[in-house]
């Protein structure tokens, strides 16, 4: 078994601020993902990475940057926080070639 941790659990920022969310996994999975979930809605893919230093854009990548520093960690940066992007950000990981995803507990973003 393994675990995915996300930090921080709650993130409060000011409009226009640059904010970074972090994700770590110890599954030794190749692929990692960042999703955004707006209140009462499904998940939308922001970025994913199939290996260290790889980045692939999802449907919602505008306004975000990501970094896969090493196999076990994947960071997401909100480049300029906006009030309409208050949401929960969920990190996930999966093996290459077998795409069952496992999710972290999420980071709840509030923009003041």
């Amino acid at each position: 078994g393994g675990i995915i941790t996300q930090t921080p659990k709650f993130l409060i920022g000011q409009e226009g601020q640059k904010l970074t969310l972090k994700c770590q996994q110890n599954f030794n999975h190749d692929t990692m993902y960042w999703y955004r979930q707006d209140s009462g809605k499904g998940l939308r893919l922001i970025y994913y990475s199939i290996t260290e230093n790889d980045l692939q854009k999802g449907d919602l990548s505008e306004g975000y940057d990501a970094s896969r520093e090493k196999k076990s960690s994947f960071s997401l940066t909100v480049t300029s926080a906006q009030k309409n992007e208050m949401a929960v950000f969920l990190c996930a990981s999966s093996h290459w070639g077998y795409a069952e995803q496992f999710f972290g507990p999420g980071t709840r973003l509030t923009v003041l």
Partner: protein, 110 residues
């Protein structure tokens, strides 16, 4: 448009009864995953299918790639089954890019 259409959007079941949730896909998908999201927001893996049917306890899921749908059957519903259920489907092109349905909010009534 949406790649994954999930229905119903909300469902109430009395304890001990059952029902089916469904996801229809507008394009060819190679795999589907079902999750339960609990009250704390955690996503719990239920099933991952590339084809056919899987069963686990009171839950059963089927994925038919050719006819572009997947179902999740719940039988003998219990209070702890309440939550939001999501399907996520992986497109047959591209790489491990999942599309989520909008979810089914299930309430189990005593």
């Amino acid at each position: 448009g949406d790649q994954v259409e999930q229905s119903p959007s909300a469902l109430s079941l009395h304890e001990g009864t059952g029902s089916a949730l469904r996801c229809n896909f507008t394009t060819t998908m190679r795999a589907v995953q079902w999750f339960q999201q609990n009250s704390r927001g955690s996503l719990i893996n239920l099933f991952y299918l590339a084809s056919g049917t899987k069963e686990n306890g009171r839950l059963k899921s089927t994925f038919n790639s050719k006819e572009s749908y997947s179902t999740l059957h719940i039988r003998d519903a219990q209070l702890e089954d309440s939550g939001t259920y999501f399907c996520a489907a992986e497109r047959d092109t591209g790489y491990q890019n999942f599309y989520f349905g909008k979810g089914t909010s299930l309430t189990v009534i005593p």
